[in-house]
């Protein structure tokens, strides 16, 4: 099979290995989440890349700090009722809203629409690893899923990326079940294109 040779792996893609995914095909968030989750599985199980959680962890830390602030304010106010707690409450309140601003900026500019970061470890285990990032869009009330793969070569440090738009009707059937084979074929071709494409 063409895609088998292209993706350079020993095991043929077995759709039976994957749990069937069924979504409400009219619910765009569910559909996007299903496609993103499928890609995460492909990357981990078919290509054996290692997921990089740094972006996710950063966001979790920011949110934890914000919640921590409000928890602190709550406990302090309980122990030392208003109006003694006035200054602590004021500080916590203001800092909380500043944190919310930071989280919004983080979401908008650093995270953007990236749903996964992965590391392709060097086969020999010696050289630098390649970094992959995957982001996607699926606007409401449309059927066009836009997927972007970005690849940073570990050795040459060059960055390549590929973006593809496709209608979700190509991968979901009438009931809303995801046809893994079709989607994997699409994704695999994209992956191959990014990996092998040489910048002229």
């Amino acid at each position: 099979m063409l895609f088998n040779m292209a993706s350079n792996k020993e095991k043929k893609f077995q759709p039976e290995d994957y749990e069937p995914v069924k979504v409400d095909k009219w619910e765009t968030t569910e559909v996007k989440n299903a496609l993103d989750d499928a890609i995460k599985k492909f990357v981990k199980e078919e290509y054996h890349y290692v997921e990089n959680f740094s972006l996710a962890d950063q966001k979790l830390s920011l949110c934890s700090v914000a919640c921590g602030l409000s928890l602190f304010a709550l406990v302090y106010d309980y122990l030392y009722p208003f109006p003694e707690s006035k200054y602590i409450l004021a500080t916590c309140s203001v800092s909380y809203f500043i944190m919310m601003g930071v989280i919004t900026l983080f979401s908008k500019y650093r995270e953007r629409s990236i749903f996964m970061l992965a590391v392709e470890k060097d086969k020999a285990g010696l050289g630098p690893d390649n970094m992959w990032s995957f982001s996607s869009f699926l606007p409401r009330f449309t059927d066009t899923y836009t997927i972007t793969l970005q690849f940073v070569d570990g050795k040459s440090k060059e960055t390549r990326h590929v973006q593809r738009k496709e209608s979700i009707t190509k991968w979901f059937d009438e009931d809303g079940s995801l046809v893994m084979e079709n989607f994997f074929r699409f994704f695999d071709e994209l992956h191959f294109e990014v990996k092998e494409k040489k910048v002229l």
């Binding site: 968030t29 989440n33 995460k40 997921e51 959680f53 996710a56 962890d57 966001k59 979790l60 949110c63 934890s64 914000a66 919640c67 602030l69 409000s70 928890l71 304010a73 709550l74 106010d77 009722p81 208003f82 109006p83 006035k86 409450l89 004021a90 916590c92 309140s93 203001v94 909380y96 809203f97 919310m100």
Partner: protein, 166 residues
């Protein structure tokens, strides 16, 4: 990745609750009142306020004068009372004694005060009414009268936020 997803959902819920909490605490600081928003529970201030109206309070330093509507607490009773000030006594030291009465009541509030108490002091005052929204407070009254409704509503909202992704 799963525990991260779960943690993120919990944080999401936490942030929604925290936002509400921080706005409330922020309002407390800005207005100077420990309870900047209260609901009118009785009809003793009709026709100015009806049961179920939402009141916005401030508790800043300017002196309390006759005619103003204050919210005050009686010792050992949690429920604050919203009535009008009809008498003010103030001495050189700045100590203040207030007498209050509900517009719709026939007599002043001495019957409501604690045993031996004839005046309301500045410390008992939670705030002064500066603005109001009609009917909005009805939800709080319903939730107080039917606690099951409150638990179902809040529980349902909490579960929805925890399970719903983005």
């Amino acid at each position: 990745m799963d525990w991260r997803q779960t943690f993120y959902q919990i944080l999401n819920l936490g942030m929604i609750v925290s936002s509400a909490l921080m706005i409330w605490k922020g309002l407390m600081v800005v207005t100077g009142s420990e309870s900047p928003i209260v609901v009118v529970l009785s009809g003793s201030m009709e026709p100015a306020f009806y049961r179920g109206d939402l009141l916005f309070l401030t508790n800043l330093q300017d002196p309390i004068r006759t005619g103003e509507i204050v919210v005050f607490k009686i010792k050992d009773r949690d429920i604050p009372i919203v009535h009008r000030v009809i008498k003010v006594h103030e001495n050189e030291k700045g100590e203040v004694k207030l007498l209050t009465k509900g517009d719709n009541n026939a007599v002043d509030d001495r019957g409501l005060y604690a045993k031996g108490q004839f005046w309301v002091k500045k410390e008992d005052v939670v705030g002064r009414a500066k603005g109001f929204l009609p009917y909005v407070g009805m939800v709080t009254i319903i939730m107080n009268d039917y606690p099951k409704f409150k638990y179902i509503l809040l529980g349902g909202l909490g579960i929805f936020v925890l399970l719903h992704r983005e």
